[in-house]
Amino acid sequence: MTDFLTAAVGFILVMLALGLVSILRGPGDTDRMMAAQLIGTGGIATLLLLGTVTGVPAAVDVALTLALLATFASIAFVKKGLSSLDGTGPAEDK
């Protein structure tokens, strides 16, 4: 069981890395916004599996914290991206 979950966690991590590569070099801002979202979700899934594999039940708490803060970070990211696109909001300072 542990071996299977460890393999699964490694697999998802590789997928996460591949997704990151494709997105970080992606041409547009929207692609980078997707990166934030993908990292959040993939990180949470990896964390939950890792917690079960290593027998650290508190990893679930880390995942819970991450779920909230990743949401916040993605929203902030998209909002900043939006405001720098249409020129209203924080990017427009003066």
Partner: protein, 97 residues
Amino acid sequence: MSLVRDITTIAAVSAGAFFFLAGTVGLLRFPDTLTRLHALTKADNLGLGLVVFGLLPQAGSLRDGLKLVSIWLLGLLAGATVSQLIARSARQGETTK
């Protein structure tokens, strides 16, 4: 009984990993922002959801199980909101260019 639980875990986590694979392939191969976003949300909703579902039988207590489910619900909420905002920003980018 524990065999049933383990089989559930293996099946669901494998399916979740498959959706992460599908999402990543979509991100790598799909041509434009909106289709890539479509691929991403599959990894978000189904990938995470199936991983959570697979880990439920392994959870030690009811409280841990509830935490797992609430993590998935938070993920759903975040995914839905963020992808709508991204899609809107992509539309805006198209119209201004």
